[in-house]
Amino acid sequence: MHDLSPLTPLGGTAPQIDTVADLTCTEQCDLALASVAARLGQEKACAAALQKLLGAAPPVAGKAHLAAPYSAVWAGPDQWMLGADFATHEDIAAQLKAALKDTASITEQTDAWCCFDLSGEGIAAVMELLCPVNMRALASGDATRTTIHHLGCFVICGDPNGFVRILGPRASAGSLHHAILTAMRSAL
């Protein structure tokens, strides 16, 4: 086992947790990510292989499949972002390649993203200061890509009244985190 110790996107050795009023923002580092893009002509085969892997049909546009060991978010036509527990899936790309074979192109994305989980009261009031996503209409399992303060992000809804996950570009974790906390202090 190698001897290089990781840093969190915010530059710490442990995830950062902030609470304003009854809402908590948690830096999530236990997530392994990989993008899966079906090869041309292999779309059906890829979807079938994914169904086997996920135990459900791969999510359609605007949707996420939230489960273990693998969760999936629609990322584009015949393209998904798969997530799993980092501890058991650090080599997620290799694992997926083994499962999906040549039906898809797979790219490790684990460290391309930072992840912040919002849990508690007042999510809608905070989110409406961050992005155009209509939180009042958002249901569990909805997932969409949008822009937060010039940053392209995924917004994944676990429970509209209690849990939302935001994926953003890792290098800008600090800016994204600042925007989220500023909105929390303003809205709550």
Binding site: A61, G62, P77, T144, R145, T146, T147, G152
Partner: protein
């Protein structure tokens, strides 16, 4: 503006980047095209005052190129298609 993405539904146009006339899909055939064809393709535009088919890239979203039919006088959008489907329909398949 709001662009009704064929897969994602209504999205704020601020999530998109604009390129221009959808005719840019019709790149001349390198085997047969004349210098004039290349010039016309790269530089001449209909630039209509009315319905205009144009290319938008959803970089704040699913990274699809879209062909949007939009009236340049009223900004009314009457059709939105995936550019890839349009390209295929216009015979750009291998």
């Amino acid at each position: 503006m709001i662009i009704n993405h064929p897969l994602l539904g209504p999205r704020d146009s601020a999530e998109f980047t604009y390129k221009g006339d959808a005719n840019l899909i019709n790149r001349p055939d390198p085997e047969t095209a004349s210098p004039q064809d290349w010039h016309d393709y790269a530089y001449l535009r209909d630039n209509p005052a009315g319905p205009h088919r144009e290319l938008w890239f959803h970089d704040g979203g699913d990274r699809s190129w879209l062909v949007v039919t939009r009236n340049t006088l009223t900004h009314e959008i009457t059709a939105v298609e995936l550019a890839r489907d349009v390209a295929r329909a216009e015979g750009r398949s291998k």
